[in-house]
Amino acid sequence: MDFSFSDEQTLLQDSIEKFIQNDYAFETRQKVVKNEQGFSSENWKTFAELGWLGVPFPEADGGFGGKAIEAIIMAEQFGKGLVVEPYLATVVLAGGALKVAGTAAQKERYLTAIIDGSLHGALAYAEPQGRFNLADLTTTAMKDGNGYVLNGYKAVVLNGPSADILVVSARSSGGQRDTDGVSLFVIPADAKGIGRRDYPTVDAFQASEITLDNVKTGADALIGEEGKGLAIIERVVDEGILWVGSEAVGGMEVLYKATVEYCKTREQFGQPIGKFQVLQHRMVDMFMEHEQAKSLMYMAAMRMDEGYGPEAQKAVSAFKVQVGKSGRFVGQNAVQLHGGMGMTEELNVGHYFKRLTMVDTLFGNVDFHLKRFGSL
């Protein structure tokens, strides 16, 4: 049993922590959010220079060969800083699909550019009727000569506004919810027939509604085998869960510590409110929720690194359940214990609260993952 980090892992953690401390204080983050793009291209360049964009990709593809442990290390620090740069969408999701099942030509064409920071991506997988079921698709991919024609609608596509490429799931055969017949495509985001409606999300990210109207693709756009795409998306989404869940663990730590500090200094009724036992117990509960979620984060990462399969999926679902429950608890209580200040835009507390609640929604909430956990 070994829970220690290697030297490289410690270095990675320290370098991100330093970046957040020096270049991503809360006030700075708030300015970045107000950029037209919703994040900072300068920061993205820095991430590329520091090699962070290449961490999850094999060395053969120009990356650093990082695995799940490296991902949770990075994500936890990003979550502490409420980083809004689209690492999840571009690197973990779009990049992840290519990493898992891309052809050599696709990797050559896209992964290099993702790693050097010149290409942004988005995974367009959710649909309005599908809720959290990755196989529930009305977007179709009909064979058209050697290639395909895509028609349909994709919902809440994270990083849609800045994406240069879209990785799109569509049904090439079978019934609306069949597990067979799902295909994955990588297409330019400005392909003819693609329409977009961009908007910010409540937790300060950027997303789009995307319509596909007779979008033609070549045969080289297919990722993996035709009709066998569901397994790829499930794997990529599990890596996405690991990422956002770890961001949430980082956020919970910031919140409970900030709450303790606040309660030590805020005086009411003649003493610091932190002296009141009720509030002490509440803060202890917040602290314990964080530790539980952190423990499941480690378990999920270690299972993923042992090999992707039902055990890893089960661990990821357990982690997601815990993050959903703990994140809501810590977020809501941080707001409550900060009194009137917890509700202002000026203070960081409310922004963590919003992010933690949205993390519960992303990729399936507590109920969904309890079902998945039970079925594995």
Binding site: G130, N133, Y199, V202, Q332, V335, G339, T361, N365
Partner: protein
């Protein structure tokens, strides 16, 4: 003891429903942009609603009869709250109608009543409540000395956080503010506090917006520097503000139970769940959802009964303000909890469509992203998590309940 509506109450219910159908018809309901509180910023059908209320003498039903109140029984008030919540009518402002108005009716001078009551009753003025001083939130006894008497004026130096409702986008400062301030040292920390009314146009007042969550709740930081407040704008006796504060908070608590609104929201969650696809069926078919929904339904029924008991108790109390109403506090704690749970379930029901948060709020539901109810639901959720704080935190209420009800 009897639970069903009596004949006269059924007749009243019919009268209320008829009034609502005439003055807030179906076609204007549920359309965003409706509930502008600010009298300077109303759409025509919202103004028509308030005009009808005033003409019917139903705009300030909780006030004493001689000041325009409706003299309703607790059951009638309950019926009014339930039917207006069901139809989602615009609301009179809590600050003027529920909080300050009754205090003025009871303790205000003749001159104050002549000057201030009619504009509140006729929905022609925007009041706000400067409730917090930095460093003094719930603990009113902690207010520092900041109003000095000079002849027939007070000179006020203070900072207050003021809420007055209205979406942050349309924010303008209220016309008047009421606030508690120390005017003299008392023998105990709670003595020496007075209730003052100040014209927000007075020289020396600066207002800075403090954005908050949700579209219905926003706040300002109001700084008063050497502001002259006439002694005639002090309500009641100097140094007796604690009594009035108690009444203000009681009235505020009574105004914010919002159970009828919660009931409406839960209905809406059910309707949305019945429409939202999930795994070949609807969210409403999901057993996990059903359990949460049914538990909320049961809890809400219990709280409705608690509210009826509380209303009967308020009627019976001889000297409101001299002691806290335990049932009101229980109701406040539980009703804000339940509104949060319902808001949380609504956000869960939305799935991915809980995320979109466009800067431009669509008017009249046009161009909504995903579902036309989604953005309002998300804003309601944000607001719900503010409500357990802003008028006495749940923790404070529980302390008082422990002392007053349980003798701990």
């Amino acid at each position: 003891m009897e639970l069903g509506l009596r004949k006269q109450d059924l007749a009243f219910q019919a009268e209320v429903c008829g009034f609502i159908d005439r003055h807030w018809p179906e076609r204007v309901r549920g359309v965003r942009g409706n509930s502008a509180d600010d009298h300077r910023d109303r759409t025509p059908h919202v103004q028509a609603w308030f005009d009808a209320l005033v003409a019917q003498r139903w705009s300030v039903p909780n006030w004493p009869l001689e000041h325009g109140g409706a003299g309703w029984t607790p059951t009638q008030k309950f019926i009014w709250d339930r039917e207006t919540a069901r139809a989602e009518t615009p609301q009179m402002s809590v600050f003027g109608v529920a909080m300050l108005g009754p205090v003025l009716c009871r303790w205000g001078s003749q001159a104050q009543q002549s000057k201030f009551l009619a504009p509140i009753r006729e929905a022609r003025v925007a009041w706000c409540y400067g409730h917090s001083e930095p460093g003094t939130g719930a603990d009113l006894a902690g207010l520092g000395t900041a109003a000095v008497r000079r002849g027939d004026h007070y000179i006020v130096n203070a900072v207050r956080t003021c809420s007055s409702g209205g979406p942050p986008r349309n924010r303008r400062a209220a016309d008047w503010m009421f606030f508690l301030i120390r005017t003299c040292s008392g023998s105990s920390p709670s003595e020496g506090i007075s209730l003052l009314l100040v014209d927000m146009q007075s020289p020396g007042i600066q207002v800075a917006p403090v954005a908050a969550f949700g579209s219905h709740y926003s706040a300002e930081r109001v700084s008063l520097t050497d502001v002259r407040v006439p002694a005639g704008h002090r309500v009641g006796e100097e140094g007796q503000g604690w009594t009035y504060a108690r009444a203000l908070l009681d009235d505020e608590a009574a105004g914010v139970a919002g159970l009828a609104t919660s009931k409406k929201q839960l209905e809406r969650v059910g309707q949305i769940a019945a429409r939202t696809p999930c795994d070949g069926g609807k969210v409403a078919d999901d057993t996990a959802f059903q359990r949460k929904y049914r538990e909320l339904d049961v809890d809400l029924r219990g709280l409705e009964m608690l509210e009826l008991r509380m209303l009967a108790d308020v009627e019976a109390r001889q000297a409101p303000g001299s002691e806290p109403s335990i049932l009101q506090m229980i109701l406040k704690v539980r009703s804000t909890e339940i509104s949060q749970r319902i808001a949380d379930l609504m956000v869960e029901t939305l799935g991915y469509y809980a995320l979109p948060y466009p800067d431009e709020l669509p008017i009249d539901n046009e161009g909504s992203i995903g579902h036309d109810y989604a953005l309002a639901a998300v804003q309601g959720w944000l607001f719900a998590h503010a409500s357990s704080i802003y008028d006495g935190s749940s923790e404070d209420q529980k302390n008082v309940i422990a002392r007053s009800a349980l003798g701990l």
